[in-house]
Symmetry: C2
């Protein structure tokens, strides 16, 4: 018995085109990306897949995350966050499918009607553009990930907690 509106989201496979409004996909397998040969031809460079965005007072930093609790779908989304002063990128260092739920940066709070959901393929990473609302890191496989985000003065975190019963329901991913 459900007496309140609850948006239902089904995650799609992550592609660069679908994710473009929210950020970049970090994936050398993307057919739209031609690499450059460097270092005497010994290395292919897939150049500048994402830009590290910061404000003037901030700077980019590299951190490591150890995600030690995996979830399974379906799940109810309780909270979303965004970083108003910079981008945030996640790249798995071990095989890790993770769940992406995003809403446009322009909105003061994430509107379930404008949300989109994705699941990565285990190798892919993403960079959320500055201000993009996103689900905090939520993994289907425990993993280590490299994180590149903005450090410096000021508040770089906004959180939105959904009122009880209103958080979107995230179904298992499409096959």
């Amino acid at each position: 018995m459900q007496a309140y509106p609850r948006t239902i989201l089904r995650p799609r496979h992550l592609t660069r085109a679908a994710f473009a409004p929210f950020g970049e996909v970090l994936d050398a397998a993307d057919p739209g990306r031609a690499p450059i040969a460097i270092n005497g031809g010994t290395t292919l460079r897939y150049d500048q897949l994402a830009r590290v965005e910061t404000d003037d007072e901030g700077y980019g930093a590299i951190s490591l995350f150890q995600a030690h609790e995996a979830v399974s779908l379906p799940l109810v989304i309780e909270v979303m966050e965004r970083h108003p002063l910079g981008s945030q990128a996640f790249m798995p260092l071990t095989r890790c499918r993770f769940v992406i739920v995003v809403a446009p940066a322009a909105s003061r709070q994430p509107d379930p009607a404008n949300m989109q959901a994705f699941v990565t393929d285990g190798r892919q990473g993403v960079s959320y553009r500055r201000g993009t609302w996103h689900l905090p890191l939520t993994v289907l496989d425990m993993a280590h990930l490299l994180v590149v985000d903005r450090k410096g003065p000021g508040c770089n975190l906004n959180e939105h907690v959904f009122a009880p019963g209103t958080g979107p329901l995230l179904l298992p991913q499409e096959v």
Copy 2:
């Protein structure tokens, strides 16, 4: 028969302390680094292992490298490079031991007498600090790596080619 001086380097295992003059080691296993629990305790954050350095006109960018030619030691070092406008970080996405040869940023050209050599353990990454002389990416295992470096206007690459017969000889790593 060797009629010229050739410096001989033996790579050491990479540690944060030994590498500190040249940059940062990206390694969650470093015992000197206490992580922070975030995301409701589901994630450990090893915070800010490296800073993404840029000049005022530049910005950080995330790229992927595919290193498709592995070397074996010993080898002669023919060329070193540095990036005067920003840092450059390498993080393997698949198991990859790579060779690090560095010389201080302050020197106009890399002096073999001041060089140090390391080999990573297959999981470790590094960030070369702005201006640090380093061997171009040289891997013992073919791999994909994530690279974070500086983009923007201006020349961010200096190369030094050793005169014939003067390039340091890099021996196999210590056991």
